[in-house]
Subunit: 332 residues, 2 copies
DNA sequence: TACTCTTCGGAAATCGATTTCTGACTTCAG
DNA sequence: CTGAAGTCAGAAATCGATTTCCGAAGAGTA
């Protein structure tokens, strides 16, 4: 392997000068500079990033810890993050936590030993890893969910408002018996969206009934099961609000299996878009989250945090957007 | 920061011994070993991965260079790769090349300077980065596409056979005027799938006509435009085979826009699944690729390549699976 | 002219862990 | 009992780039 010493010898200068030429951190005589560049080209020299990282005591890696890259919500978010990372000269390390606090902790640990420059993380329920990183003062941006007792930059969507809009849209369509499938009680997004659902009911003068709410696991199978249980009620709901994309898919599959159709048999609004929601027939009404923007914003915050670690943490809340399609057509 | 020297001092041994205890690469007196462990715990010592990487002259990073993580094909593939990486103690760095040879080259360069342990790459048309990595003898696995003149481990799907099956299925349904929307001429998958299409026509005794073939860009917009041009033919096709998922979506959107329906107006078979293809109504018939397995296989090959760099390269070809759904119902 | 200030190149220290080398000590065979 | 072989801990070299420190030379000022 050719090193900076080889280049130095070849160009008749010291390694220090070579380093200065290549990093551009100090002025160097143009003549020497030219010699160095020539030597670099001749030798095909490529700096050793690891050595640089050791000396500089930091890497150009960002970790993104999410529950599952296969969920389109995170896919687009990661894309937004990666685009920022690329322009800022960072690389993104992908970490699937699968909602498992132990995995989250393991990745947090790796972030520390590998001296990664920063982390964007969607915390699991117990947020073990988040605590660890917070203590170590690693630059960190929380996405999608808040964590009690941790002061960090955070990017959220306005879950309550988005849910309100989605449910309100159903109410305006003439529906009154509206069910809700939401996520685990410990997850802030599940509770915020449920709160939006309740607020919309209240505003519409509809009494809230616990019987019409199901707490599932934010996964497809959970949505399916919750839908079944709702349909088996003595008096099934006439409309449904589901608080994430995978559970919406599960619910729709349950409907299909039973030969029921939206919106004729039951109107449906889902939180978070699914890819090509237009192609699903009838096309699915959703409260769309700006997922790409979420990732992008997280990246920008992380960049700022790294640049000025002392700054007080900020929280950015992005707006959702109601995409009205066919499954929420007004009641006939 | 606490270093191995601090631990050594605290436990009354040399840094070398601490290293040996922690790496477990050599026997150490159990008594000393215990002391070291105690000191590590007391000080909350965490090894510096970067320093280790420098000394060992390698990192525990794998790069995965794909065109776009937002394409569900790659999402699932990356997931498969990441799962292998995790069990093998590697981390996955995500690199979106956007089919741009310059970006591919830039990432290849980063792989080399950062001394990453290996690369899984889906080559762009000119495969600039692949050449670079090949010359540097970086452990590398090619996925999805072949590259002329590069001898490397490769994971492919049986494109020609898959396409044959899909088109043959249409022919068996009684369709004869079958169009094909495929990708750029320089991309091996596009050509292989086109070859499968032609082979199926031949086997079915149908004359191949250039007029029914469109070369697009493997993207949604390209699929849309190609569909338009096919529908504008004096005699539009009665069935369609599309060679990737995004273009299929574009084509379906074009149909929807024109008020046409599959399979009544035109039967459709797509290559590569889309998420929740069942929910699209009428549900979409696809030649499904084992995307997760592709990623997993690539990971396993990469692991083996790293373990024994001298081994002759191997190519693994995975089978596609025809998922018959509604858009390819037999001709009435 | 003399002195200060600035600029710039090179020698050497540095980042933190690993690993080679060395020597002390133990074990075992003859 | 002696010599060879084996085990293990510690000292020091090492990975490759960066950066501090120092000195030389040039620019600018009184």
């Amino acid at each position: 392997m050719t090193t900076i010493y080889d280049v130095a010898r070849r160009s008749g200068v010291s390694p220090a000068t070579v380093s200065r030429v290549l990093s551009g951190r100090r002025n160097v005589d143009p003549e020497l500079s030219e010699k160095v560049r020539a030597a670099v080209a001749e030798l095909g020299y490529r700096p050793n990033g690891v050595a640089r990282n050791l000396r500089r005591a930091s890497t150009n890696l960002w970790a993104v810890v999410i529950s599952d890259i296969e969920n389109p919500f995170f896919t687009s978010l990661v894309r937004g993050l990666e685009d920022v990372a690329q322009t800022e000269g960072y690389h993104v390390v992908l970490c699937n936590s699968d909602e498992d606090p132990a995995k989250e902790a393991a990745y947090a640990s790796a972030v520390l030993t590998e001296q990664m420059a920063g982390v964007v993380i969607s915390p699991t329920s117990t947020a073990e890893g988040v605590q660890q990183l917070d203590e170590a003062k690693t630059p960190m941006v929380l996405i999608d969910r808040r964590v009690e007792g941790v002061e960090a930059d955070t990017v959220l969507v306005d879950n309550e408002h988005g849910a309100f809009e989605g449910v309100n849209h159903l109410i305006e369509g003439g529906y009154r018996r509206i069910a809700c499938i939401t996520g685990p009680r410990r997850v802030s997004t599940a509770m915020d969206r449920l709160a939006g659902y309740r607020a919309a009911l209240r505003a519409g003068g509809i009494r809230f009934s616990k019987d019409l709410v199901r707490h599932a696991d934010f996964r497809e199978a959970g949505g399916f099961a919750a839908m079944e249980s709702l349909l088996d009620l003595p008096e099934p709901p006439e409309a449904l609000f589901v608080t994430n994309n995978l559970m919406t898919v599960g619910a729709l599959e349950c409907l299909a299996k039973r030969g029921l159709r939206a919106p004729d048999d039951i109107a449906v609004v889902g939180f978070d878009d699914i890819p090509w929601a237009d192609l699903v027939v009838p096309s699915l009404t959703t409260v769309a989250q700006p997922t790409y923007e979420l990732g992008r914003t997280a990246g920008l915050l992380l960049k700022d945090r790294i640049a000025s670690p002392g700054r007080p943490p900020s929280t950015v809340t992005l707006r959702t957007e109601l995409h009205i399609r066919a499954t929420s057509a007004p009641k006939k």
